[in-house]
């Protein structure tokens, strides 16, 4: 049985359309023109225990709206959600006991309280058993390096310290399902790495189900085996991360550096010239049709090559390609 079961989920916002200027504002006050905006449309997916799913899409695609419906913050317009058998809206309290939520952009802790006080309060709200709390606190203090900030109020913490504090507060009641909405936004590489390791480790030791939205594909590559891509409120891809990579990974590029200025070059079939400057040439080729050595040979016969590098496609360029070419989703065989 899936842990998270989303069926035909939809959310439509109704906003008031305003014309510009004072006249428009007054008109909107007395004769409001409503405009319906579909944020999420007919969404279906199931997530099993222990999965870490990357939920990605461009800004405004409907990621946060989905997470807010899953956590019980927003009421869906259509469809149903079940998280560990609970309806997040109708059984808000029962659902809240099972879940942990991090919103990367805002804090769930008390601005003026020292971290340890905030954590005590959270533990009280979730009724964490005192001896268990002690155990977890010392564990988190170690892996998230909280010792030096336990007595610091949230307001005087750096962004990285704040996020470590948030994670401790989110996991202190040992949630079975965790939603992370951009947990690494604005953080430096070191903190990002520590946070990823923490999530991965927690997922492995507790079999926690994790749903993660992010714009940092490093998060996805290191944490997620499955990816759901949402575009304009609809699901456009749901499948293993590898499938995207394999499908789009059939293209590779080779960059050649030459000793002499390049005048012209004839490329073998299944190759495409990407960048050409005086002393360098970048070639993209389909590796199912031609091998890297064949391409290199063909080029080296024509040019005086000093050096060349073979580039594996990275996830970032693949996703960028997908975002820019929505039809490309069909190529990877969207599931669902």
């Amino acid at each position: 049985m899936p842990i998270i079961d989303v069926r035909n989920l939809g959310k439509t916002y109704r906003t008031i359309e305003k014309e510009g200027g004072v006249k428009g504002a007054v008109k909107a006050l007395f004769r409001p023109q409503y405009r319906e905006k579909v944020a999420v449309h007919d969404l279906n997916f199931q997530i099993d225990a222990g999965e870490i799913v990357g939920y990605i899409g461009v800004n405004g695609a409907g990621k946060s709206t989905t997470i807010k419906m899953l956590t019980g913050i927003l009421y869906p317009t259509t469809g149903s959600i079940s998280v560990l058998g609970h309806d997040p809206q109708r059984e808000r309290v029962a659902n809240a006991r099972n879940i942990g939520v991090v919103f990367g952009q805002r804090s769930q802790l008390w601005w003026d309280l020292a971290l340890i006080e905030s954590l005590n309060l959270v533990a009280n709200i979730y009724e964490v058993e005192p001896s268990r709390y002690k155990q977890l606190l010392s564990h988190f203090a170690e892996v998230l390096e909280l010792d030096e900030i336990l007595k610091t109020p949230i307001r005087s913490m750096s962004l990285g310290q704040k996020m470590r504090a948030e994670l401790a507060a989110t996991f202190i009641h040992e949630p079975k399902v965790v939603y992370l909405d951009e947990p690494t936004i604005g953080l430096d590489v070191m903190v990002k790495q520590r946070i990823r390791e923490f999530i991965k480790d927690y997922n492995q030791t507790h079999n926690t189900t994790v749903m993660l939205t992010t714009h940092d594909l490093g998060d996805i590559e290191q944490l997620c085996s499955r990816v759901i891509i949402i575009d304009a409120g609809s699901k456009v891809y749901d499948g293993p991360l590898n499938a995207i990579k394999q499908q789009f990974g059939k293209f590779r590029t080779i960059t050649f550096e030459t000793n002499q200025p390049i005048v012209s070059v004839n490329l073998p079939p299944a190759c495409e010239q990407l960048n050409l400057s005086e002393f360098s040439l970048e070639v993209r080729f389909d590796r199912s049709q031609i091998s890297a050595s064949q391409v290199a040979n063909a080029v080296m016969q024509q040019l005086d090559v000093a050096d060349f590098t073979l580039n594996e496609p990275d996830l970032e360029s693949i996703i960028k390609h997908l975002y820019q070419n929505p039809t490309a989703y069909n190529e990877v065989g969207a599931r669902g």
């Binding site: 916002y13 946060s64 807010k68 956590t71 019980g72 913050i73 927003l74 009421y75 808000r92 309290v93 029962a94 809240a96 006991r97 879940i99 939520v101 919103f103 952009q105 805002r106 769930q108 008390w110 003026d112 309280l113 006080e117 309060l121 009280n124 709200i125 979730y126 009724e127």
Partner: protein, 262 residues
């Protein structure tokens, strides 16, 4: 219930720790409430010393009404002050979301998040006025009258909270409800005086629509032995009806909650 009581107490302790960090704020808050109340009283006294009584009401009798209202207001001030700023401080900046993902009632969480110690000023002023008036008017001070006053102050406090709750719930639609709450809340100033001072319609409004009259005029009338005093016994019922309707409005607002972007 026990759980919520314990949790509430825990919130209070945390709040106190924050207050101690801003000690100056703590004292300014309490003192300013006393000063604020004091200023209104001086104005009242300045008017009433010119005449022995207005429509048969003496200065001390009006003080009794005023004092009872202040005590009820104090209950609202102490427990439910966050209702004023739910739009500005929680909904607009997106802070309200965290209340909705925790395993406790979101309204409880909102109220417990900030109990307002400034209310101490209301209680000092209210208690002084009621005791002074009762002594001057030679009203009996015994278990029965004290019990009656406690019941009335609690009912009045609940009426105040209910009216602020239903106006605060408009935040879910219009983001910031301070203006709406202000309009309704300030009609309580009519209830500082006997309702008979005003046109009948105003008396009706303050009894049946915005029933602040039950926090002041009716209980005071009962204590003074006036005929209309029996109405005071309706106060607990009115309070219960108001808070039920207000909570339903609040729940409706929650359903309509749109959160903020990102």
């Amino acid at each position: 219930m026990l759980r919520y009581t314990k949790l509430y107490w825990y919130f209070v302790i945390q709040r106190f720790k924050i207050l101690m960090e801003y000690r100056l704020n703590f004292f300014i808050g309490s003192i300013s409430t006393v000063l604020f109340q004091g200023a209104s009283l001086v104005a009242l006294w300045a008017v009433l010393r010119q005449v022995p009584s207005i429509q048969g009401w003496t200065f001390e009798q009006i003080l009794l009404i005023y004092g009872l209202l202040t005590l009820s207001k104090g209950i609202n001030h102490l427990f439910a002050d966050n209702l004023w700023v739910v739009g500005r401080d929680y909904i607009r900046p997106g802070q309200f979301d965290r209340f909705l993902v925790r395993p406790i009632n979101p309204l409880f969480h909102l109220l417990a998040d900030r109990i307002c110690h400034d209310a101490i000023g209301d209680f000092i002023v209210g208690l002084s006025l009621v005791s002074y008036a009762m002594v001057q008017l030679q009203l009996p001070i015994n278990l029965t009258s004290i019990g009656f006053i406690i019941l009335m102050v609690i009912s009045g406090g609940v009426i105040f909270i209910a009216l602020n709750l239903i106006t605060a719930a408009t935040s879910f639609w219009i983001m910031d409800s301070i203006a709406v709450t202000n309009v309704v809340f300030h009609t309580n100033e009519f209830a500082q005086y006997p309702l008979t001072f005003y046109h009948r319609s105003i008396g009706m409004v303050l009894t049946w629509l915005i029933p602040y009259g039950f926090a002041s005029y009716y209980p005071a009338s009962y204590l003074l032995g006036h005929e209309i005093g029996w109405m005071a016994w309706l106060a607990p019922v009115v309070a219960l009806v108001c808070i039920t309707i207000a909570y339903k409005g609040w729940l409706l607002g929650l359903r309509n909650y749109g959160s903020t972007g990102s």
